[in-house]
């Protein structure tokens, strides 16, 4: 017990969905963190892991939180092997800081976050992603190695530091999306990409959802290769399609020119600061204000029907509705204003449309809304196996107890 870091009492600023934790630990080393975790497990203390705290409210409302375990004080180590296009980074480093360091050698980890202080650990635990997932997938797809603190106090690794490696079970990818329910991510290694030399975005506004969806389908079926292809449905006004190209300057220009011929609408081309501002806005749009935020997915070819569904949903709430989504991947965020009762009606309506949308998860919502609808919705298939794995990694059931998807 002597090895563990000092605990301090939780205060209002540490609250998880309004619940103030009994104690907060901010260990300085992975070893200390693992020791604190083992103690919590032995004592049966419910534990919530915190990185930057930017997505801490995602999940069910906790009955109680005995311990908030933070990765914030872990030494911010970044080992950038630019010749190998890999980097190993401690979990508490923010994505923004990591990318600032990688940029010195013209490389990046191409993942978006809407939140300034989002850490690598939190990004993996939530598997949160944005427009860049069109080309590069989520952090899960770029992860090549991981170091985890387990509830028995051990630090274990899986994967490695090379981009190609099939030795052993892929524990790293397994814990992506686990919302801190299985182990604490203390370090991760990623495959990196070179930062493109040029970038350009076509923004097209549409009078008709059908035409927008048809244009997105045409881009998907073409041989041009956008970096991102997003749709934005504002609270009022016309929906738009954002197609971004990033390559060498000449190839970026050529692809944008080809894309223009496929886009039937009012198209403007953005580059430089205007382009950056537009994409930052797109990434952050769903989180503006205090509206509920729902993540949902659909089969890519059914975008037009999803856009119509969003229009139909406007009749169910007095508040604003906006959709920011990956047009070709088929996933996005719906920001839902209105009263908790109206928001609940929207979530329930989406969940009833199993013929069209899936994975309807409530990422942000007030307590009243979370009391009315389950955060995660449908239980996953293979639940018996997932529960067995949960019992193995967290036998005392302390990790994000009853909050996470398992």
């Amino acid at each position: 017990m002597a090895a563990s870091a000092a605990l301090r009492p939780g205060v209002e600023a540490d609250a998880v969905d309004g619940v103030v934790p009994g104690a907060v630990a901010e260990p300085g080393t992975p070893e200390q963190l693992a020791a604190v975790l083992a103690e919590a497990s032995s004592a049966g203390r419910t534990t919530v892991v915190r990185g930057g705290g930017t997505k801490l409210g995602w999940g069910r409302v906790p009955a109680r939180v005995d311990l908030l375990l933070s990765t914030a004080r872990l030494a911010p180590v970044v080992v950038h092997r630019d010749g190998d296009l890999t980097a190993t980074v401690s979990a508490g480093v923010s994505l923004a800081d990591l990318n600032r360091q990688l940029a010195a050698k013209g490389q990046w980890l191409p993942v978006d976050s809407a939140f300034a202080g989002a850490t690598i650990g939190g990004m993996l635990a939530t598997n949160d992603a944005g427009p860049l997932r069109h080309r590069h997938g989520t952090a899960r797809d770029l992860l090549i190695g991981v170091r985890l603190a387990l509830t028995d106090g051990r630090l274990v690794k899986a994967g490695g530091t090379v981009v190609k490696n099939v030795a052993g079970y892929d524990l790293g990818r397994f814990v992506t999306g686990s919302f801190g329910t299985l182990a604490v991510i203390v370090e991760a290694t990623f495959k990196l990409l070179p930062v493109p030399h040029a970038s350009s975005t076509l923004v097209t506004a549409y009078a008709s959802a059908e035409v927008l969806a048809a244009n997105a389908a045409a881009i998907a079926a073409s041989q041009i290769e956008p970096l991102a292809c997003d749709v934005h449905v504002p609270a009022a006004g016309r929906p738009s399609l954002l197609v971004r190209f990033a390559s060498s300057p000449a190839a970026t220009r050529a692809q944008a020119a080809t894309a223009r011929t496929m886009l039937v609408g009012e198209t403007e081309e953005l580059s430089g600061d205007a382009e950056r501002v537009r994409w930052t806005g797109q990434v952050q749009a769903a989180w503006a204000g205090q509206a509920a935020v729902v993540r949902l997915s659909w089969m890519p070819a059914r975008l037009a029907e999803v856009l119509r569904l969003v229009e139909d949903l406007r009749g169910r709430t007095s508040g604003a509705l906006t959709l920011t989504a990956r047009a070709i991947v088929g996933t996005g965020l719906l920001s839902v204003g209105g009263t908790p009762r109206e928001q609940a009606a929207v979530v329930e309506h989406l969940r009833a449309r199993t013929d069209l949308v899936g994975h309807v998860a409530l990422l942000r919502g007030g307590r009243e809304l979370k009391a009315a609808v389950d955060v995660w919705g449908q239980a996953p298939s293979a639940q018996a196996a997932l529960e067995a794995l949960k019992r193995t990694f967290d036998p005392a059931g302390i990790l994000n107890a009853a909050r996470g998807p398992v």
């Binding site: 899986a158 490696n165 079970y169 892929d170 397994f174 992506t176 060498s248 996933t331 067995a388």
Partner: protein, 482 residues
């Protein structure tokens, strides 16, 4: 093995779906790593997921171990039978269930070959990206088990990046669906855990994969260098220029000589050749290809040959892909190794391999994916010379040590299987391996699902270590090692 289980299996699969005569079982005693052999008690040939489920349930009830098998092209003994166990061959689950072009997905049964997926979608301008060199014969179920890669995974990733959903029978007999044809399902990524688990966590009965649009342009060049270091420098500068090639392959003098003898790709007589392929939109490929060409010349390439057309490109690739089997032209026997080093450590590790070759007196050819550091040293030996086969195996093991010391891996794509599980402690601590064992026990508490693979255990009685021998399929030129 008491007779009743074979009878019970016949009730599930019909008499023609169960093999238990020794002569019938011979085919199944090994995969494409033929120095590991074990007779199973029974082989089953189910035709549906329901039959697979019934077989697994039966095995679970009777406490009989079972091993799933695709088309037996694995190179790590992943489909090696277990003494007294049941082999579940998925060869008859070979239907393409759905081709969905608008959503860019294909649903297949596990016995469908990798290349068949591309054949199905090629008329629409699409393809399935992972391309192990055995793609004509290997099954998609086996690809899922091994997380197969290929020459183009530097840019396009592995099986885990292209499988969206699987249907699988868990070791207790439950039929489950894992993953989703829609993106971003919440919760731990059980699908990513199953992909690459080498058949130890489940038996896959259906696979949904995503397909990609064919790139507009593909350009390939072959550059000759006077040392692997010079070739390696070219690769470093290509990467530093911010270019991610679709493939970067390197071959050394011995491999070039063997390839020339076998398929006459007309490679230049050089110490090292580098093959670089770019693909994508024409505007991008044309511009970057000039940069690659210039880098190769700047770093000392004596010749740079650009593929003029598809036939020329195929000839270059034929030389590369034939390199393994071609070793048979320059050596009576050879042992193929699969290890990974960080790309920048390639020159250092190649120098160590060269020194090892001189010290051991065994020729070692090198063919490798230079973009991602995946080495395939080919250790030449003559099994008619007493002790040489054992020496070759020792040399192969030593090379894995170099890979681990350089910060790499004991396998980049062939898997751990039965072959390399004893090397796992070189890469992973006892705690790491214990966590993996507990994970496995959570899913398969009775240890019936492909036991004895991946994680180190005391050797089973039937497992006799021995040197590599060429598989009959390979000998006949029907399969290649990549």
């Amino acid at each position: 093995m008491p007779a009743p289980i074979a009878d019970q299996l016949r009730a599930v699969c019909g008499p023609e779906g169960v093999l238990d005569e020794p002569v019938q079982l011979l085919t199944y005693e090994c995969d494409a790593l033929p120095h590991l052999r074990q007779m199973p008690a029974v082989v089953t040939l189910p035709r549906s997921a329901a039959e697979v489920q019934a077989i697994v349930r039966l095995c679970a009830r009777e406490g009989v171990p079972f091993v799933a098998r695709g088309h037996g092209s694995g190179l790590s003994g992943g489909a090696l039978p277990v003494p007294g166990g049941v082999v579940i061959s998925l060869a008859r689950l070979n239907r393409v269930l759905e081709v969905d072009i608008p959503n860019r997905q294909v649903t297949v049964e596990p016995g469908v070959t990798n290349l068949e997926i591309t054949r199905q979608v090629a008329p629409f301008g699409y393809y399935y990206a992972p391309d192990p060199s055995s793609q004509q014969v290997c099954s998609i179920g086996g690809n899922v088990a091994e997380n197969s890669g290929g020459a183009h995974c530097l840019k396009y990733g592995f099986t885990v990046h292209h499988v969206l959903q699987v249907e699988a029978v868990m070791p207790d007999g439950e039929l489950v669906t894992v993953g989703s044809p829609m993106a971003d399902g919440p919760g731990p990524d059980l699908l990513a855990l199953l992909v690459g688990s080498e058949g130890t966590l489940a038996v896959v009965t259906k696979v949904v994969v995503r397909i990609l649009r064919r790139p507009e342009t593909v350009q390939t060049l072959l550059a000759a260098f006077d040392s692997p270091r010079a070739g390696g420098e070219a690769v470093s500068q290509i990467i530093a220029a911010g270019i991610v090639p679709a493939a970067v392959e390197m071959m050394d003098a011995l491999a070039i000589k063997a390839a020339e003898a076998a398929v006459h790709p007309n490679f230049p007589p050089a110490d090292t050749v580098l093959i670089v392929e770019l693909d994508g939109p024409a505007s991008e490929v044309t511009e970057l290809f000039e940069v690659v060409d210039a880098i190769c010349r700047r770093t000392g390439a004596s010749t740079v040959e650009v593929a003029r057309d598809e036939a020329h490109r195929m000839r270059i690739w034929r030389g590369r892909k034939a390199a393994f089997a071609a070793m048979g032209r320059v050596s009576p026997n050879y042992y193929v190794q699969d290890g990974v080093v960080p790309r920048t450590k390639l020159p250092e590790v190649l120098a160590r391999i060269r020194a090892l070759s001189e010290r051991s007196g065994l020729g070692i050819g090198n063919v490798f994916h230079a973009g991602d550091g995946n080495l395939h040293p080919l250790i030449c030996y003559d099994e008619s010379v007493p002790g040489q086969a054992e020496l070759a195996e020792k040399v192969a093991g030593e090379i894995l040590g170099y890979c681990v010391e350089a910060g790499g891996s004991i396998t980049g794509e062939h898997g751990v299987g039965a072959d390399k599980k004893h090397y796992m402690p070189r890469m992973f601590s006892d705690d790491d391996l214990d966590a993996m064992q507990r994970l496995r026990d959570a899913v398969d508490p009775r240890r019936l699902c492909n036991p004895g693979k991946v994680l180190p255990t005391p050797r089973l009685c039937g497992e006799v270590p021995g040197p590599y021998r060429q598989h009959p399929i390979e000998k006949a030129g029907l399969g290649e090692r990549f």
